[in-house]
Amino acid sequence: MFPITSSTLWSPEPALCQGVRATLDLADVTEVSSVFLLPARSRTRTRHGRTYEVRLRYPVQVQLVPDGEPAYLRSHGTDFHIIPIEWLATGPRRVYSLGPGLRVEGDEVLVLLVQSIGDAWSDKSLVNSLKRMNADVVTSDAPEYGLPCLRISAAFLDVRYPLSTQRTAASA
């Protein structure tokens, strides 16, 4: 009955997730929860006297039914943006999310999205580590909020949803 401890922590996630997280922790990237659907809304915010359009997004754009409003679905590719401008002041600037995402082929796989704004950061060793996990990795350095921005998207082709791999051990 006693509380969970680090050594006994069981997870319902695919086993690969632990390895991915360990790799990102080593690179000092902060995890944020993955949100599958984003309404396609843009807003403007001023920072240091300049006005920026804030448009959080994922590569796949869809229409909501029946009203036709646009929305984004979490997906593989570099045209994503998951750092609200407010985080530049007080929140994390180098983040990742890990969870289900779409590929253009139409299937749903484990997708990692990494975004880092504002500092010079080399992605080579991280990209190599991810590729060794059989990930399809794409990167971009298109700036955001007028600052340098690195984006990495990795689709783990071995983790396809629905996924039924684990069984918890029965205990007496």
Partner: protein, 403 residues
């Protein structure tokens, strides 16, 4: 009743407690930070641990998109869920998953457990298209985690299966330090001939549902391919557990966590490098730091760490759940301190439940009236508080619905 300002104040506590980012991805789309993610993972783990005692669970991670025609067929008999997201992508229409009972039950039929149908657990992000001003974790569009367990068992074993599920829920909520009662409410739409609500009374004397389980109705069961002679069960909870813990946290700042959800169980601040408590090989996570500012403990208290110990000038003391400090004997086992913190949280909430008139022993005739009624399970019999006849512990409220 709480107004919008007080809801917002509660939501702010999730930000100061490092559970949520101050700015999320939009209304009803909160973003969890590492501390909050770690708490959520533990919630799913505790659930899985309690429901896997004496049973083997298959774990299934579902797709988030479901083809609309498949979903519509699954729910046509009970009318489906309110406020789902439908999207059109690449010429097809999809639903963003609001639930996965049918898929889990279908898998339970395909994965026999010791020659019988088994249990399937899913932990996923569910979506409901909700509008309105309620702040994060009280009414979200992106529901995470959605923890859903589905079980198939022979009809002849229904009583035993219900008792097992009730037992697992009791153990689960004991570990979450939430003194709930499980209430048999009767039929719900034609989805279920028997709905059970897990009800908590908040310190505001309001009842709230923290988990539910259903005996699944015939047509839905058939849709999942569960043949006659078998019952199907649907048990679930969500991140609402966190919002309830927030509402139930004594004090005005941050969150109070039970040890089962806390990513760190104890923090010790020491001015001479000595760790004055015994980490008795329990595997509990104890963080030791040099004693710095006078209010070193505040950051950890906001995050809900159960045990905070300060060792200064040879004196050791612990901050209790009520905010007071008390002396701790040198060498005291950290296990005992953690259990004490859990017991204090349970006692605080049990006092609210016991002071409430929402649960009382009544006979069937004295329990009649408008509003919601249900029998507490396992049954507790006694004399009816109204007429003195044979009665049973019941949940009785004049409210037409509770959430």
């Amino acid at each position: 009743m709480m107004n919008d300002d007080s809801w917002r104040a509660y939501s702010e506590r999730l930000v100061t407690g490092d559970v949520l980012a101050r700015e999320g991805y939009g209304k009803g789309l909160p973003v969890f930070l590492p501390w909050g993610i770690a708490v959520i993972r533990r919630l799913a783990t505790v659930f899985a641990e309690e429901f896997s005692r004496g049973d083997t669970l298959s774990v299934r991670s579902p797709t988030t998109l479901v083809a609309s025609d498949v979903y519509d067929r699954q729910v046509e008999d009970f009318g489906g869920y309110d406020n789902i997201y439908r999207v059109r992508w690449a010429g097809r229409e999809y639903v963003v998953r609001p639930d996965c009972a049918v898929d889990n039950l279908a898998q339970a039929m395909r994965t026999p457990n010791n020659g019988r149908a088994g249990s399937v657990l899913s932990v996923f992000q569910g979506f409901r298209r909700l509008k309105g001003p309620t702040p994060p974790l009280f009414r979200d569009c992106a529901i995470w985690p959605f923890v859903q367990l589905n079980r198939v068992a022979a009809c002849a074993e229904r009583q035993q299966t219900v008792a097992q599920i009730v037992g697992s829920l009791q153990q689960l909520f004991h570990r979450l330090c939430l003194p709930v009662r499980i209430v048999r409410m009767g039929p719900w739409k034609n989805y279920s001939p028997d709905l059970y609500n897990v009800v908590l009374v908040t310190p505001f004397n309001t009842p709230t549902i923290v988990a539910m389980f259903f005996v699944v109705g015939e047509s839905y069961r058939r849709m999942a391919g569960v043949p006659g002679g078998f019952d199907a069960f649907d048990v679930g909870l969500t991140e609402k557990i966190l919002s309830v813990l927030l509402l139930c946290s004594p004090g005005e700042d941050g969150l109070v966590l039970p040890s089962s959800l806390a990513p760190v169980h104890a923090v010790v601040a020491t001015d001479d490098g000595r760790v004055p408590i015994d980490d008795d090989g329990s595997g509990l996570i104890v963080r030791v730091e040099p004693l710095g500012k006078k209010d070193w403990w505040r950051k950890w208290a906001r995050r809900g760490v159960p045990v905070l110990v300060e060792h200064a000038r040879g004196r050791t003391r612990m901050k209790t759940r009520t905010g007071r400090w008390r002396e701790v004997k040198p060498g005291c086992a950290v296990t005992d301190l953690v259990l004490e913190a859990d017991a204090a949280l349970r006692a605080y909430l049990a006092a609210a439940r016991d002071a409430s008139s929402l649960f009382s022993v009544r006979c069937e005739s004295c329990a009649r009236g408008d509003g919601l009624r249900g029998e507490v399970v396992p049954e507790e019999d006694g004399p009816c508080v109204s007429c003195g006849g044979p009665g049973r512990l019941r949940f009785i409220t004049s409210l037409a619905t509770i959430y």
